[in-house]
Amino acid sequence: MKVEARIRRYNPEGDKKGYWQNYTIDNADPTDSVLDILHRIKWELDGTLALRRSCAHGVCGSDAMRINGANSLACKTLMARLGSGGSIKMQVEPILGLPVIKDLIVDMEPFFEHYKSVLPFFINDTPVPADGRERLQSQADRERFDDSTKCILCAACTTSCPSFWANGRYVGPAAVVQAHRFIFDSRDEAAEARLDVVGDTFGVWRCRTIFNCTNACPRDIEVTKAIAEVKMALTSGTI
């Protein structure tokens, strides 16, 4: 099959603003991923195309892109999902809401600033158990934050959020998911500090339950549900 690719280009050394460039790839397979096609474009047609990727297996979260108008990982999105028949149209652009560095590469720093603000690490200052081994918790307690442990920080959720597009000071869905992961961990002791961050003016209250984040998550995390649980914790004072 043939892939008609339309890719958003931007070179800070020469371009005042971004533009669309078209490429055609022949002999593509339905099982080829968007990343495979981007690689073929870069390696066979235009070596100047810049993109970020690492593992290419949906684990590292490096290649989140806006593909045919929706955020997803280039390595997990197959041609079969974009269409069928002899010709497939594929439009790829950088994720929105973050500054573009070059072509499909964005500056992730603002995203990671929000991530760091929720203290995304285990905090417990009490002495370790006498046997020196792990702090135990029940399976039911573990289940409460199981979903939010799956986040790979690809930023697909945050950059699909219209509230984040409108105001970059909003911490964003990914940071709230990270906060959720520790707030609802019965072994963690810094829930109040994290709730202060996500309960701020630019915290969860900016969420309008649009559900773009849930649709965009390549790990199928129920992001909007996690945000709702944090809102409930903030309004009820119970976690």
Partner: protein
């Protein structure tokens, strides 16, 4: 932080800071539920109990608005609809307007609009005299 365990699930009480956005969020949820009942009640009374073909000025003045409870519920509907709606508008505007001064101006403008509307309509509802209104309607022969 008090901790309780029920069915192997740990539940903890935490201190949460209150702020304007949190209060506004809570208000939107509560007022939304109240509005649901008030609006359904209003619709039920206005369009089902009263036949829509009988919705004349005379009918409204003589029967509906002579009932203090009815006037009270209409005023409550106005209060919650206006405050809920204007707070929603504030949310939308503040998504796109980021300057501190502009945000203050928006909040002030919406608050003034809310207060003036409630005062004017509140005065109209409280000062409404059904007998005088009905007499006026009779004198011009309208809405019989």
């Amino acid at each position: 932080m008090t901790t309780t365990i029920h069915n192997n699930v740990t539940s903890r009480k935490v201190k949460v800071k209150r702020n304007f956005e949190r209060n506004a969020y809570t208000f939107m949820r509560i007022s939304g539920v109240i509005l649901l009942f008030l609006a359904i009640g209003h619709t039920f009374l206005q369009l089902i109990i009263n036949n829509v073909h009988d919705l004349t000025v005379n009918k409204i003045a003589m029967e509906n608005w002579s009932n203090a409870l009815r006037r009270g519920s209409e005023f409550l509907l106005l209060i919650f609809a206006m405050s809920h709606g204007l707070n929603g508008l504030r949310n939308v505007l503040e998504d796109y307007v980021h300057g501190k001064g502009a945000v203050t101006l928006i909040r002030l403008g919406l608050a003034v609009f809310l207060i003036i509307t409630l005062l004017v309509v509140g005065y109209a509802i409280i000062a409404f005299n059904p007998d005088a209104a009905a007499a006026g309607v009779s004198s011009i022969g309208y809405g019989q």
